[in-house]
Symmetry: C2
């Protein structure tokens, strides 16, 4: 583990974004922006799906609705930058990250709700950590975008984590045990070599950090 | 056709909401509110689905993102009223309206995009017409909600209609012919007796207006 990784502390995440991923992101700003726009859309879509799945829980749906609106506003910011930089929109297949995390989500309730909320917390936490890692490394105007998003999204993982704690309490689930299981998988996905560069990918396969 | 229906003019809709539906809505405010909350969520979900389907079209995705945010904000307003009136949230099966309109949507592009936009325009237009019909008929605090939503959503059908016109032009489709086909079906769904009361249902089966 590098010195940077050893010093890294985060309430959820075990490892920092590898330097190899940051270097790759700086070399591929077009793909970074297009996949990031997709991620903001998917974040809104996930929140909306939870509003349908738990429609009678108005505390949850209210929080998810506000979260979805904020993600959509950020999508609009990214899309505006894509247009102003004349980046050509292209269809990108999603990376492995969210799909692999979702495989760990329990199929049956009440465990499913706990897991979905933990999963949301990790994706939000990692996104925000990447905004902070990108801001000083990438040039303007992307640095301004990521700094702004880091400030705006810093509390998003907490929205999910609070809902996870509530669901775990109701279900009699040991929350920290489950968080640790997701944390281990998340760290693996972030540090294992990845053949495809995306917003949530691991370091390049040829150059592991 | 009643006198009210004869005097009715709308850029898209052929018939006004039947008096029988308005009377039923006033008698079933709980179901009205819960289904209305579902409709706002579905409106956001439809807009988001279009953002995924036409991801490279940043003009379309920007408009749909702003529309989805507004629908979510309205969902939050309705949910707040549901909570303050202590209406018990319940799961409601959707009515026939949107599903029947969607059956008319072409499966293949470029016709599909034109149809999806026309379909969206009709659903938005009818929702807004119902807000205006409900506001003077239903008591406070629902009347205030519907008056506010009528003002806010009056231009929504136009967002879809402009996108329909753009898609039709690109596809060489005769827009008005297709609008007329949707208008005929929409009028039928709004005036034909309906066994189930919902925000977009027809008049009650036992009491056709």
């Amino acid at each position: 583990m590098s010195r940077a990784a050893a010093a890294f502390t985060h309430p959820l995440l075990r490892v920092p974004t590898p330097a190899g991923w940051i270097a790759q992101a700086c070399e591929m700003p077009d793909v970074l922006l297009i996949d990031h726009a997709n991620c903001e859309k998917k974040a809104a879509s996930t929140a909306l799906a939870l509003m349908f799945a738990y429609a009678e829980d108005l505390e949850l749906t209210g929080k998810m609705s506000r979260l979805a609106r904020e993600e959509l506003r950020h999508y609009e910011q990214v899309a505006k930058l894509i247009r102003s930089l004349r980046v050509t929109p292209q269809r990108l297949a999603p990376g492995r990250y969210a799909e692999r995390l979702r495989r760990l989500v329990a199929k049956a309730e009440p465990h499913r709700e706990v897991d979905l909320m933990i999963c949301g917390a990790f994706i939000e936490a990692r996104s925000c950590e990447r905004f902070a890692a990108l801001a000083p490394a990438i040039g303007a105007p992307l640095s301004d975008l990521f700094q702004g998003l880091h400030n705006a999204e810093a509390r998003h993982h907490k929205v999910y984590l609070d809902l996870a704690a509530r669901a775990a309490k109701r279900a009699g689930v040991a929350l920290q045990v489950r968080i640790d299981e997701f944390a281990a998988l998340e760290a693996e996905l972030i540090t294992a070599p990845d053949a495809v560069f995306r917003f949530h990918s691991g370091p390049p396969a040829a150059e592991v950090d």
